[in-house]
């Protein structure tokens, strides 16, 4: 936590100047923000980006915090689900965090949820898309600022139909998020008369795609829809190009296929079409400002994970502001959070009853190493939140 110490000192200094001018000292205790993110291993990049975004937002919104100082507690989950309950319990009972932010990995989300559901703290999921989090396992104190895995993939079915694709092969890793994404696509695609001719589930985290791609080539479908993320997405897109499928069979994907990976994918990603709740080139002031300052501060382009972290920060700041800095009443805090309209780089969004974002899903394509927005594929799309009683 060397970084966070530095960060904390900077914040303390900033706060000090602010508090001098603010008339009310609402609460002397700092707001404790616990982070359960992967900072090493396969998901490390996602954890880094989320943290960067979150801290950036809270620094920018410092004025809204009513003089409350911030304290960050950051723990590397190593994306190991079996450790999740313990770390969550550490943040809850030992650090007594006011907010627990995390995780990236759906399995970890389930482990955290087991401990944090209905507890005296607010859990905000900045990435993991596992359906149950805002579905059957939803809870008043659990929010999600990212997406449910259903959301980004569902609109793609309609897009594919509009393009005239009838027979599609779908493919992803054989795990929760992947399967939920393929199901969501299939739901809208088959409803409109399309046919999924083959569904390929690759064992996670295998990245030897050649055999599968050869098979797809022999099927020669109208298009291919995939869910992959991170390193696997890089490898997949490169293989797809190297084996000559690109340009012959259109590649569609859940937007994570081209998030945080474009530099590594290089020209292989050009023209890949995806749906997601964000796009690099979204034409709004917030997004431009966000991208510029992110790049300036961290030396690399921002991606969806950074945006999700950023929005989490915005959400916290706005709720704290609304409550005048006093977050001791959990009911009030949950109400404030739930009613927040987050003015996000991805466009304004609100929260559903199940505490999942109601947001636009954009159709994007990769152009010159950027996710360029084509159109809004589904405006203000809400997750059906199946099984949630909230």
């Amino acid at each position: 936590m060397f970084n966070s110490n530095k960060m904390r000192n900077a914040l303390v200094a900033a706060m000090a100047t602010l508090t001098l001018s603010s008339p009310v000292l609402a609460n002397e205790q700092p707001i404790k923000v616990g982070m359960m993110l992967p900072f090493s291993g396969v998901y490390g990049a996602l954890g880094d980006a989320t943290r960067n975004g979150l801290k950036m937002a809270l620094r920018e919104q410092a004025a809204q915090l009513h003089g409350r100082k911030l304290e960050f507690i950051e723990i590397d989950t190593e994306a190991r689900p079996e450790r999740a309950p313990e770390i969550a319990s550490s943040l809850l009972n030992n650090s007594e965090a006011d907010f627990i932010i995390g995780p990236v990995h759906s399995g970890v989300a389930m482990g955290m949820l087991k401990v944090l559901r209905g507890k005296e703290t607010v859990m905000i999921v900045p990435n993991a898309g596992a359906g149950p989090v805002t579905g059957p396992l939803c809870s008043p104190n659990v929010f999600r600022t990212s997406f449910s895995s259903w959301q980004p993939s569902y609109p793609m079915g309609k897009v594919a139909l509009d393009k005239g694709y009838k027979k599609v092969v779908t493919m992803s890793w054989n795990y929760g998020m992947g399967k939920e994404s393929l199901d969501a696509f299939e739901e809208s695609f088959t409803a409109g008369g399309g046919e999924v001719v083959k569904k390929i589930l690759v064992p996670f985290p295998k990245t030897e795609f050649q055999a599968y791609l050869s098979e797809i080539a022999s099927i020669n479908p109208d298009a291919v829809f995939v869910f992959f993320a991170g390193g696997g997405a890089v490898k997949f897109v490169k293989d797809y190009d190297a084996l000559g499928l690109k340009g012959k069979i259109p590649l569609l994907g859940s937007g994570f296929l081209t998030e945080g990976t474009l530099e590594a994918q290089g020209p292989a990603a050009e023209g890949v079409m995806t749906t997601l709740h964000y796009a690099d080139t979204l034409d709004n002031e917030l997004n431009k400002a966000f991208r510029t300052s992110y790049k300036a501060e961290f030396g690399k382009a921002s991606d969806i994970y950074a945006v999700q972290g950023y929005d989490t920060g915005l959400m916290i700041a706005s709720a704290v502001n609304q409550l005048g800095g006093d977050i001791s009443d959990q009911q009030a805090l949950i109400k404030a959070l739930g009613e927040t309209t987050v003015k996000s780089p991805r466009g304004d969004f609100t929260f559903s009853a199940a505490h999942n974002p109601v947001q636009n899903i954009y159709l994007r394509t990769v152009e010159n190493g950027e996710n360029k927005v084509i159109e809004v594929a589904a405006p203000a799309l809400a997750d059906p939140a199946r099984g949630c009683k909230l």
Binding site: S40, E82, N93, S106, A109, F204
Partner: protein, 320 residues
């Protein structure tokens, strides 16, 4: 005497009284009670591995299979909304795990050395993918378990598993029992043959022992206890996940066991507490905890020739 080494007795009389009193100091902080509980659960698991690797010379990289199995078995056999008895299910789970171990042991124990390491790994990976690929078992997201067993024996209930302190004492008791059990086992006539097989398998065969049967029995015992540890882990937070069966779980258990001092049994507790303690301190200190953890492990291999227990014994035992 159950503990024939001075170091062992000192450890015993320091650790258990301290562990017994610990919750009194930590009453304020339920997290540390839970943290210590989970370390003890893992120490129990490491201990069963230590018996297998250190006492029987059977090196396995698939022990986590039973750890995970303990968790999943409970989910499979426990009714969803009825109260179940902790002891009864302990018995069920250990028995089923033992039966599985009997079959797998029968196959893997034909090999030895590095080949055995790999074939145990192979079975563990199969089990891992079995659980992580199947929707019925929750896939990679794992499963929630809502049942909390009650712990009454003949109508008397000593532990309330919803209370972290009670659960702590249950796990401490389990760890204590396992340590005593292994000490009795090692001192027994069965233990004599196990020692003999470890030291000189060829000689032991020539004396007329069917060493395969002794190895198989040891494998079954250790596996059943490994499953018991997994069952306790599952009960602690009511959560099972295939990552419990991952080879990295076996790997870290092996590291803790070597660190503690192979074959010393009580070293398993030392190794687990030192490793987990360092991990906890380092990960709260720096996000680059891996660098320091790695360096410390390397340093410890260099310094402690026979693990922590071995080095302590060198210091504390009288020369004969």
């Amino acid at each position: 005497m159950l503990f024939n080494k001075r170091t062992e007795r000192i450890f015993f009389w320091v650790f258990f009284p301290l562990a017994l009193l610990m919750p009194l100091f930590l009453a304020e902080n339920t997290f540390f009670v839970s943290k210590l509980t989970s370390i003890m659960i893992f120490a129990l698991f490491v201990m069963s591995l230590d018996y297998l690797v250190g006492r029987c010379g059977l090196i396995t990289l698939g022990h986590a299979m039973f750890y995970g199995l303990g968790g999943y078995l409970f989910w499979m056999i426990a009714p969803e909304y009825e109260a179940v008895n902790f002891w009864v299910y302990t018995f069920y789970i250990c028995m089923i795990a033992a039966a599985v171990a009997l079959i797998i042991g029968f196959l893997v124990l034909r090999t030895s050395g590095i080949y055995m390491i790999m074939i145990t790994l192979a079975f563990a990976q199969m089990a891992f993918y079995f659980f992580s690929d199947s929707i019925e078992f929750g896939g990679t997201d794992g499963l929630f378990i809502y049942v909390k067993p009650e712990t009454s024996i003949f109508g008397l209930s000593f532990f309330d598993l919803d209370n972290p302190t009670h659960f702590y004492y249950l796990c401490l008791l389990s760890l204590f029992n396992t340590l005593i059990f292994f000490r009795i086992l090692i001192r027994s006539r069965f233990g004599r043959v196990v020692d003999a097989i470890h030291e000189n398998p060829g000689r032991t065969t020539a004396l007329g022992y069917n060493i395969f049967v002794f190895r198989l029995m040891s494998y079954v015992i250790a596996s059943a206890l490994g499953a018991y540890a997994g069952y306790l882990f599952t009960l602690q937070y009511g959560f099972v996940n295939p990552s419990m069966l991952a080879w990295t779980t076996s790997g870290s258990a092996l590291v803790m066991s070597i660190l503690g001092g192979m074959g010393s049994i009580y070293g398993a507790i030392l190794g687990t507490f030192v490793y987990e303690g360092l991990h906890y301190v380092l990960e709260h200190l720096t996000e680059h905890w891996m660098l320091f953890m790695g360096a410390l492990i390397i340093a410890m291999v260099m310094v402690f020739k026979n693990g922590i227990a071995g080095s302590m014994e060198k210091l504390l035992e009288k020369r004969t």
